[in-house]
Amino acid sequence: MTTTPTGQPTNRLGLTKAEYDGSKTTLCPGCGHNAITGGIIQAAWEAGLEPHRVAKLSGIGCSSKTPAYFLGHSHGFNAVHGRMPSIATGVHAANRDLLLIGVSGDGDTASIGLGQFCHLVRRNVPVVYIIENNGVYGLTKGQFSATADVGSTQKGGKANLLMPIDLCAVAIELGCGFVARSFSGDQKQLRPLLKAAFAHPGTAVIDVISPCVTFADHEGSTKSYAAVKEHDAPLHDIEYVPYFEDITVDYEPGTTREVTMPDGSHVYLKKLAEDYDPTDPTHAIQVIRDARDEMKLLTGLLYVNTGTHRFDQEMQMIEEPLAGLPLERVRPPKSVLDSIMASYREGSAPVGAGGG
């Protein structure tokens, strides 16, 4: 690795890691999303992504704010709630040279945006689609999302009775060629997954479990609130943002790790074993289900298939970005208009609209 004159390491493009930074985060201290942001910066730097060739896209929510916090030299697009996939599809159609990094949340993807998510995956539009999944609507202060587990409770103690939507299983079912799950605190696992996703020619879905430090706690829980109580704050004062240390984990493939979440609850992460074969979609769905039955979240590269149909090939688009084509390549010559006009004069053109 080379360095700058001041001794800072640079990547293959001669850029320092700081040149992949964005603006300062405005999320809560200790938020899992910040760790993911750090992971993206590190992975993008290590992979030597050209910042100008990256477009950062997101929807609405805490997670969707994060593209402002990484790759400050890339164009960014913070869309409307749940609709980042359609923006990504349009951007890709216009300029295939761009690497699209989409960041979404569980509310943004599993509820309001579930339809667009499914159709993005179905089309296999090349987007690195990162779901920062905390099972809660953080920005509107603590409502359940569609990935919340059965029995989990929200502030005020109301329990969720609905089955969670497993976005990885949905993606595999829809033919996605790159499906992974990770944990925000597991940089060792997340970074290589991100780098692999950058290189994937279709939609790459990474569902990253990311603890919400603020709204995943709840009144009447038997779980520990020691950190909050130390600060002597009322539990349901939603203006109060308790401070937590970042949760980090580092565990070996094939093992299980219990993680204590900010609200004192526990998540059991099970890392796929090294001999796991990620090329069998049926098996992948099966292991996700098995893990769920054991109340565990399976992490790792669940399914990969780089040979799936490609959106750009299916569209049969020319190699250059459509957005940059000069007029003479997109406006047919006058002779074409003349011949079309003749067909509408003579009546040989296809019969126009209408039923009958």
Partner: protein, 601 residues
């Protein structure tokens, strides 16, 4: 017996999906080829097959092409609607009926021509299914003989439509000839209607507005097209796909210089348009009212983040699902202010198929110049019916891509701020993702932002930005097509209309003039309303705004912008889903005038 030459409507009542479309088009084209001005209106149900459908062909020596409102010749092919179809026919009219259909008592002063269609079909084909389709050509032959439509022109029209299918052509041709022969031998002409060759259609084309708009989009250089199927808009994109496939693929590689994406819904369709526009492509979608409703949020996003995109709204009857296969102009107010917060959009209002073609092109230039979603409001009547037109002209000007800074331009400036009004016209400069110069990088967001595109909730920054957007709309006011004005010296009455209403209005003006009511007329072609509209209101004592909706949406807008003269603005409204006809306009204007002149009936 008096004769009525080149001035009547033929109304064909059939069943949806029965294959009458080809027959009706042959009739329409044969009359057109005889140099006689025609128009064709398809009145169809929201149904694939089995429900009643009607097709009206109007021949008009004076060149009137609006719906006539009343028919002189009826063709009865549908037993279900026969009674009510016949009941609509007045004294002296003609009824051609498939004799398998029992009409019941018809007044003596209607001329009935029964035709044994099943029997005539017998020698033509033994295939029962084919008989059902081809039987429509019998009435083509009968009408040709009765009305004097030249056999050679019928053959030519048939050949143009079916020439590529010789077997079908031969079959249809024999049915036409059988109809002609039967009429010649068995039907003594007892009515006054006939066609005579003219020279009023030479060089003209017959085309529907959706196809015209599709052509405009292709020659505008559209590259990204997204859509979700909806009547009456689908045929626009379907026509566009046909043109692009044929004319926009590289002849050597077969690769496309376009992407057409059928979206999962209209929200995704407009999202893709905005994403593509952001990345620098000429992008468009086409929809109708329900789709527009779904697009509201993203439209506001495009307004606030300043992204180009073209959205065609081929209006149908609302509210809600409404009458999906009927025409209206009910989306004007909604589209103009689509989305929450203070938003407003440039809206283009084509009034002819020629303008569907031209405005489709202009819309892309305008969207990229203004960095805004631009709406083109057509309607089912304009979009799906066949209209005569002069051939479209090839665009003379290059395109206008607006204020885009590329790397070369960025290199020359010290600082780039995405939302700074550098030129005083409210339109900022933009860069495209993919630009190498880091100076050009910015973050697009629908939340509050300052001149440098940074997130802010600062009250002053918000107001500055909103005021600049208002300034941009004032620029838009000067860029949308100016109204077309037809002045009559000294007329106290001013008529204002837009879109497909135009054709009924010009006919109504002639009728009004014939009865001594002098009018001037302004056809509005775009919003925000150019200054000329208020000026026109000022010049007239009474202003009647004619439109195809219940609430007088354009009238309301004009009142807002001419508050001192609001009381002189009145509405003449037509909103039953049928295309506007001149009689409705005349009646509406005279009703107001009667009141204005103190006449109480």
């Amino acid at each position: 017996m008096r004769t009525v030459v080149n001035d009547f409507s033929i109304h064909v009542a059939t069943v949806n999906g029965s294959g009458s479309q080809t027959a009706n088009n042959v009739l329409l084209r044969a009359i057109f080829q005889m140099g006689i001005p025609v128009s064709g209106k398809n009145l169809f149900p929201s149904n694939i097959a089995g429900l009643p459908t009607w097709f009206t062909i109007r021949a008009s020596k004076d060149g009137w092409v609006a719906r006539r409102g009343g028919h002189e010749v009826l063709v009865v092919m549908n037993p279900e609607t026969a009674a009510s179809d016949v009941a609509e026919m007045g004294p002296g009219t003609v009824i051609v009926v498939n004799d398998a259909i029992k009409l019941g008592p018809v007044p003596d002063d209607r001329v009935v021509y029964p035709v044994p269609m099943a029997k005539l079909m017998e020698p033509i084909t033994t295939d029962v299914k084919l008989r059902r389709l081809v039987v429509n050509m019998i009435y083509v032959g009968v009408l040709a003989e009765l009305l004097g439509i030249e056999a050679a022109e019928v053959e030519k029209a048939l050949n143009a439509q079916l020439g590529r299918k010789p077997k079908a052509l031969a079959l249809n041709q024999s049915a036409v000839l059988a109809g002609m022969a039967y009429a010649r031998q068995h039907l003594a002409k007892r009515d006054p209607y006939k066609v005579e060759r003219m020279n009023a259609t030479a060089g003209k084309i017959l085309i529907d507005g959706n196809t015209a708009a599709a052509l405009g989009a292709m020659f505008a250089g559209v590259t990204v097209v997204t859509w979700y199927p909806i009547t009456p808009s689908s045929s626009l994109v379907e026509a566009l796909i046909g043109f692009l496939e044929k004319h926009r693929r590289d002849p050597s590689t077969g690769k496309a210089s376009f992407a057409v994406i059928q979206a999962e819904d209209e929200i995704a369709a407009i999202g893709m348009v905005l994403g593509a526009g952001w990345a620098g492509a000429r992008s468009m979608t086409s929809t109708s009212g329900p789709g527009i409703s779904l697009m509201a949020e993203f439209a506001g996003y495009g307004y606030y983040t300043e992204l180009p995109g073209v959205i065609f709204d081929i209006q149908r009857v609302g509210p809600s699902t409404g009458l999906p296969t009927r025409t209206a102009q009910g989306d004007l107010s909604f589209v103009y202010g689509l989305s929450h917060g203070d938003t407003q959009f440039p809206v283009l209002l084509p009034g002819s198929v020629g303008e569907c073609y031209e405005f489709a092109q202009g819309a892309f230039d305008l969207a990229e110049r203004l960095q805004m979603p631009v709406f083109v409001l057509s309607d089912l009547d304009l979009g799906m019916n066949n209209w005569m037109s002069d051939p479209f002209t090839y665009p003379e000007k290059p395109w206008d891509r607006g204020k885009v800074l590329d790397d070369a331009a960025l290199a020359k400036i010290a600082k780039f701020e995405r939302y700074r009004d550098v030129d005083g016209d409210g339109i900022p400069y933009r860069t495209l993702p993919g630009s190498k110069d880091w100076k050009g990088t910015y973050f697009t967001r629908g939340s509050g932002h300052d001149e440098a595109a940074r997130y802010t909730e600062d009250p002053n920054a918000y107001v500055r930005n909103m005021d600049r957007l208002k300034r941009k709309l004032e620029t838009a006011r000067t860029l949308v097509p100016v109204p077309e004005v037809f002045s009559t010296n000294g007329a106290e009455i001013g008529l204002i209309a837009y879109g497909s209403s135009h054709w009924a209005v010009i006919e109504a003006r002639a009728e009004l003039a014939a009865s001594g009511v002098r009018t001037s007329y302004m056809r509005v072609r775009g919003m925000p309303l150019p200054a000329a509209v208020a000026e026109f209101v000022k010049q007239h004592d009474r202003v009647y705004v004619i439109e195809q909706n219940r609430d007088g949406q354009l009238a309301e807008r004009i009142r807002l912008e001419s508050p001192d003269r609001a009381t002189r603005i009145r509405s003449v409204l037509h909103y039953d889903g049928m295309p506007l006809d001149a009689r409705s306009v005349v009646r509406g204007v005279l009703a107001h005038e009667g009141v204005a002149q103190g006449i109480v009936k």
